[in-house]
Symmetry: C2
Subunit: 559 residues, 2 copies
Amino acid sequence: MRAMLGLMVASTLLAMAMPALAAEVTVLSAGRIHTMDASQPQAEAMAFDADGRILALGERETLFAKYPDAQPLDVGDATVVPGLIDAHGHVAGLGLTQMRADLVGATSKDEVLARLRAFAADLPEGAWLLGRGWDQNDWPERTFPTAADLDVAFPDRPVWLTRIDGHAGWANTAAMEAIDQDTRARLTQGDWQPDGGRIVRDAQGRATGIFVDGAMALVDAAMPPMDAATAQRALALGMQAAVEHGLTGVHDAGVSLQQLRGYQALADRGEMPLRVYAMADGDSEALAWLCENGVYAHPGGRLQMRTVKLYIDGALGSRGAAMIEDYSDDAGNRGLLLMSPKQMVDAAARAKDCGVQVATHAIGDRGNQVVLDAYEQVLGDDRGSDHRWRIEHAQILTEADIPRFAELGVIASMQPTHATSDMPWAADRVGSERIQWAYAWRKLRDAGGRLSLGSDFPVESVDPRLGLYAAATRTDAQGMPAGGWMPQEKLTAWEALRGFTSDAAWAGFAEDETGRLAVGRRADFVVLGQDPLAIDPAQLDELDVLATYVDGEAVYRRP
Amino acid sequence: MRAMLGLMVASTLLAMAMPALAAEVTVLSAGRIHTMDASQPQAEAMAFDADGRILALGERETLFAKYPDAQPLDVGDATVVPGLIDAHGHVAGLGLTQMRADLVGATSKDEVLARLRAFAADLPEGAWLLGRGWDQNDWPERTFPTAADLDVAFPDRPVWLTRIDGHAGWANTAAMEAIDQDTRARLTQGDWQPDGGRIVRDAQGRATGIFVDGAMALVDAAMPPMDAATAQRALALGMQAAVEHGLTGVHDAGVSLQQLRGYQALADRGEMPLRVYAMADGDSEALAWLCENGVYAHPGGRLQMRTVKLYIDGALGSRGAAMIEDYSDDAGNRGLLLMSPKQMVDAAARAKDCGVQVATHAIGDRGNQVVLDAYEQVLGDDRGSDHRWRIEHAQILTEADIPRFAELGVIASMQPTHATSDMPWAADRVGSERIQWAYAWRKLRDAGGRLSLGSDFPVESVDPRLGLYAAATRTDAQGMPAGGWMPQEKLTAWEALRGFTSDAAWAGFAEDETGRLAVGRRADFVVLGQDPLAIDPAQLDELDVLATYVDGEAVYRRP
């Protein structure tokens, strides 16, 4: 286990782990330990062995008496909770956001260029330079920049920079030259525009380097596929960001076979700072690989794959979620199914035959209904089995479908911050009647359903404190609307914590290993400056994450 | 409806009601109205007619436009919620506590006498003078007082005063003379002592007037039965205390036929400031009356009786609750059933035959099991009917019995403050294993059960803010233990409010009238200084109750 401590996790962490190396047993003592284990919900101290297995929980004096030679680890009055598990995130996507130059707040093109030059210093030759966050309204000239502004500094390296709002991109000439030949010909002259997008052209009809909305895909498509080293770096950066926020586990909701290879390489080298529960992305090669090779678990204990991630529909914001009736703000539009009901049944049946867990993205009420119907049909008499099939998001439901989660044993894998991000416009999309069955955490729980909670990072922040806060307040960062949006759906802080610990572990077949602090389980825990069950729920987003431990080792300590 | 405004509710309230008298329609506007009605959870304004029926809810401007001649009732930025309903209280008992002289904090016997004289001035000649709260440790002499101390001031009127801790009483000679002749003979000489109590005697063996614990019953038994006027006064005082705390309804958990007559007299005279849902006390004359006369509803709309209150066992503190296994702190003791399982079945069957709702006091896990078994047997195939049978307290349950509430459609009528009052010693009584299924609000809700909430006043305070606070924090008034006792059982503020409004109304077959603010329902509401859904739950006990309205009339306004 010690060998797994990542090289990438830097020498400071290695140094932190050293004391534990010297002793067979460590006794952690804290202001309070919330174990999330019903038989012993609170403790003052916890002993774990050199492999990171929990030996005992109880009173401080009892444990120090029982293990007189133990290495003490006293965190003072801090609160310890089980390591947080994000049941739905995208690790590589999170890492990639950190592999882009940060241009937010740059007050001139010169500052943008200075930041880009500094960022490029670490990049391999020829690699694309990606960035995000520029805003010409922050610059003196307040006009869109052009490719030429970048070409002087980067004549050969492709540069592709997303605007602050994500709705425009700024390419240099090298990037535009990477676009396929036929398209490129249409960029140099004429007035062709792609569907749902706009190429900004100069008086001569030449693309200036600014691509709006749907036109951005032209440049995106020109990027070379990621090489293995870059992919691994993205995974490593994503995992590092996760542990810095108190996560000890992530369910990676859509992993290609290439990404799995990347994870495996990291795991082989002992460079996984947390546990990743990978879902094979789509009904394709990763599922085929799973069916052929069986449920996968890396011997180091930090990487697993036994799940296929399917997608039944799109998102609510863009009206791509499949609805039974028209969108309230777009008559005639009911969104779109990405798989037919029959395709959904076929895919679930294949997964069942291989003993694979199914986790399907479903946002709209029709999307959710089609998935529940398919699960019901495929599971048949086996619905009572330990299948743990999941619906990811489960955002808009019909009243009649809410109890089906419990009836079919389907886990609602939900993201509290989606509710608070969507609340300004969600009721516009579905109207005041259907919104009653949307983001309906409490109704699902009242109907006997089980919630595993996550963030969908990088769509939302990786910070699980924001998820706990959203779950318990249903307000935005400013505490609005006062009292919370649809306050009847709020969770208690304890329930929110449960969703990010024991119920997330359960959704990943890991309840015997993680999610609770109990004898025989893993010493995966977080040290918090405050007690999340005692503070005002409105302060949950300000919890201080002091340290994150996986297998009894510190994988993060606040500097 | 106007005529119902109680004479006893004093002229100030009558004055407050006057504006509404002048207009057909009133439009209330507030900072926010939490309706507890899913189809329109929030509003800025609410219109109701002269009968106190809600006409409309919505935006301020819309309602004032719709009812241009309406009487405006603007409560500024205050928050309006449905009138709170205590689903389990004892109105006469609460009133009686106010009919006793308050002796708390008196620093001398002289001060006690002065307070008694002032209090007696309002009492009819010959009526017993009752008081509570004396503590000889607050007096210079620090010794127990005697009957003689009272006899000078009260030579003829019986006086009976309970010590601050409730464990001793102080009688004057007139009170002792009211004790039955045989017992009195044993008070004047000898050394006889009753079971579980002590008569304090002087050197000659004469009772001094101090009766400890079990001996207090000797004096209690000597008191004359309450006359009708006194009984009505107790009810009136109890109801008045209730509305001053934001209650618009009480389920009176045990009403004798005599008490019902008292309520009826008050209702006939329009002196019910709130709605009382009376439960016939025990399987006796009140139930017989109900069976004979049918479900009772006073035409004024504020008094109903359709329920029989049964008692299966005692209380946990005194180890009278019936347990399946021994008390953890009293080997060999399993408490006591007050009715045999067969008696319980027979009583429930009689109630069912009469169409009467059953509400049974059950504290211990055996008590609850016997009741659930009886309900199951008696309801049989009718368990799915709209019976709304209840268990009062439902305090200690087995894991297996928790889902039976939902399966049988049985309401758990629980008192959040009982949990926080009992938490210092409840685990001593039942041990760390059984305590997991005690006061288990969340487990009951997770299993599909419905909670109606109350206080059991005067055992606990009538103040429903304390119930909301206890439900959402599981802490005592000082916020201890930090994070709450068994925090997994906490309710959200919204759920706590639901228990005291819509679910309490449902438990009283009143969901079409009260519990929510919606068109056609009663304008029973409370005006609060803060938004209970927006504040830190730890501040729920400090909500300012600004006014209480029943049928659109102010029955209380904070001075």
